[in-house]
Symmetry: C2
Subunit: 460 residues, 2 copies
């Protein structure tokens, strides 16, 4: 099957925004084992759009279009698709009502221009958009199905997940498993019989695909690959790798003839990976280090505070980005100036003079000061030289000391992270949060492999 | 002139990486007033690549290709371009030597596979790559010129800036201004006469282009557009708008026959915008709100501290992301728990009981507490309900109170920002930082238009 993505908008062609929609659509297609073969971007220009649509109809069975569904004169996707394939534009009263209600809900009146968004090519199937004013739609043209979706990323994502993928899954792998997604409420045909996708797409025998995403921190990609190389020897399973600094993601993937078989296969692969990697796997799917640490703190009924110098509030910011974090996060003292370390955290001046602000002695005192003054069960502290300036031969740019005070005492260690300022702060925050997780798991507090001071490596 | 960008690589089509090369190439073309009309991505597949090249040659005068110049079997751009247009592959000894020297410099031996990178289609012009092993090249095919460049972003950027843009500028606007970029050292023809671009491209008379980027905060895009609509009536100047939450960017653009004229025109337009918008323009180019606030604090020899509740350390994190921020930033107290507001910031318990943590009274006390305890000249405080939960009829989700204590007293105000949790925190941080800037400028401390509590609007 050939899949093609067409994104539409002058702003893309001018490079005013980086088009991430294509990548996000392609990733989702891969969940159904559908590889995208062509990606095209065109201006808000009817001739160029028509040209792209005709060409896509000639070479691809699935065409995912994003953008051009808005209310303005520049938004031409619906009109041009209809015109290209000789269809009328028909007002869908139900969609018009939905748009009206949407505006009501946000306390504004629907403008006359928004009426346009309730028109669709004849025989289109409407794809509801519960979080925006632009519904999507699909039309079939010969062997090709077009899905037209909004360009706003979160609206696009939701429409892909709730409307498009279930239809594709049913079409390719039979209807048996579509029910997992629940019925697509609100989908309706416009101006005649619906061009239901499921009943007419080429089916290559039932194949069910399951994918997972495992998030790891602390081991380099090539080491991970070597460590796990024997786990995906089978045709039916695959193991992908992706780096997203400072983490590495694993993407196990399983195919089978039935859902049960595929579920069992992916579960087996995930279990084997977890068994092999132990605490290096910190989460799955949409987890983040801060959400995992937060959930563990809540479960242990423990609280956390931070005393941050080089991370400058980043750890606190990440922790409080998680809704409900007030249950376990007490607060932070960002002691950027040395005087603040003394006055707010009670770090003895003597320690600062003797060992300097970037020292294990000082981060210990900072962590213990935060623990006491914020009344938490755990407290993290960071102090380092994130650069680009401020290094000395003895204390080079990249040096960082991390401390964790907790019920069983205080642990501190030093690392040299040879990365730029932003990544230095990100990596420091990740190690620090990972220590809380490891402490609650009762395993050793380590840094990323090869990055201990003097270890010689420079990549996590 | 039609320009087209073709990016090549399986990883793009799978969505494993977001393709930012297209945007960066397109932005650079705009500097020469060349609009990109088509963007295409294809797999590392000879048939698909050939198809894309043939099509591009049929519709575009300038084709910028990125990717597929590496040493592996998957890297096919050079071979397929040569084959598509019936050219031989010829070894360029000078390039081979350059690649060898490159490996020597990084202390490695050149592998046999890298020899491949010194082959080019006949009559190609080689484009040197001083920071990687993959040289680029250009070939002319009828009315179309292809530029083949590496896919590694920094190598691509350098090749665009030092090799491709000067050639295009000479071709389109005569040679007069090409000298700004300096000579393109090392460019050499392969296997016969060079397909010099400059001497054969369509020249539409000399034109010089200048662009600027103005960053504004506090006024909605449509209001900005209305406010400035009369400034770009001339053919020679244009004014673009772009939203990058929570800011709006203005992109003035000027054309002229000489560099002096273009410089004068863009300076005039920028001055007119600044005159019209006053303090709504907070910076230009690569400025950020935190870098601008930092530079102003340094200039005024003033220091800043923060007391953050709902922003959870975000303001401190942003301030300390700027190198050298220890000159003016003292630190932050992230008082997430109420007890921390009392113990660390000295907020009277009575105030918390009487008015609640999200109140102007409490943020005043927080700001004043931070000012005193961190010994700074200015102190910001935030307290709000970022959601998704925690609202009451009287204090809805989205409510936020911001305070600024400074030499001339304490100012506080309340807003309701009806945006999601992440944006609520971003917007709150931006208003707070903007207040420091406005305070140092001696202008009124306002929030985004329409967003004052009860104002009724929902967009900045």
């Amino acid at each position: 099957v050939n899949a093609e993505i067409i994104t539409i908008g002058d702003e893309l062609l001018r490079g005013e925004i980086v088009d991430s929609n294509k990548a996000r659509i392609a990733q989702r297609l891969l969940l159904l084992d559908i590889e995208c073969r062509h990606q095209v971007s065109v201006l808000d220009d009817p001739a160029d759009m028509r040209d792209a649509f005709v060409r896509a109809a000639g070479r691809s069975e699935i065409v995912l279009v994003s953008g051009g569904l808005g209310p303005t004169r520049d938004d031409l996707t619906t009109e041009v698709l209809a015109e290209t394939f000789g269809r009328e534009l028909i007002l869908d009263d139900a969609s018009l009502e939905t748009i009206r209600v949407f505006f009501e809900r946000v306390g504004r009146e629907m403008a006359e221009v928004n009426r346009k968004q309730a028109f669709f090519p004849s025989e289109a199937e409407v794809l509801p958009n519960p979080i925006g004013t632009a519904p999507g739609f699909s039309i079939r043209e010969g062997k090709t199905v077009f899905f037209a979706m909004p360009g706003v990323p979160r609206e696009l994502d939701l429409m892909m997940d709730e409307q498009v993928l279930p239809r594709l899954e049913r079409a390719f792998y039979g209807s048996e498993f579509g029910s997992e997604y629940g019925p697509e409420t609100g989908a309706a045909a416009v101006g005649g019989s619906a061009s239901g996708v499921g009943d007419a797409m080429p089916v290559e025998g039932r194949r069910v695909v399951r994918a997972a995403l495992l998030r790891t921190f602390g081991m380099g990609e090539s080491t991970l690959e070597a460590e796990l190389s024997d786990l995906a020897r089978d045709e039916a399973v695959e193991l992908g790798f992706r780096t997203s600094f400072p983490d590495n993601f694993l993407r196990p993937f399983a195919r089978a003839r039935t859902a049960e078989e595929a579920d069992a296969r992916i579960a087996g692969l995930v279990a084997a990976i977890r068994d092999r990697l132990g605490p290096l796997v910190y989460g799955e799917g949409e987890d983040t280090m801060e959400s995992v640490v937060g959930a563990m703190l809540r479960e242990h009924r423990a609280t956390l505070a931070t005393a941050e110098s080089c991370t400058g509030g980043l750890i606190a910011e990440r922790l409080t980005d998680v809704p409900g974090s007030s249950d376990y996060f007490r607060g932070s003292i960002v002691a950027y100036a040395n005087e603040a370390k003394t006055s707010l955290l009670g770090v003895p001046e003597r320690l600062l003079e003797e060992h300097g602000a970037v020292s294990e002695q000082v981060v210990r005192a900072m962590a213990e000061g935060a623990l006491e003054r914020l009344g938490s069960d755990f407290a993290l502290a960071t102090s380092g030289i994130s650069g680009p300036d401020g290094g000395t031969p003895e204390k080079p740019v990249g040096l960082v000391c991390i401390g964790l005070a907790g019920p069983s005492g205080t642990h501190a260690d030093s690392f040299v992270f040879q990365v730029d300022r932003t990544r230095h702060r990100q990596l420091t925050a990740q190690v620090a949060l990972d220590w809380v997780r490891r402490s609650l798991l009762g395993v050793e507090l380590v840094g990323p492999s090869l990055m201990r001071r003097g270890g010689g490596g420079s990549a996590p």
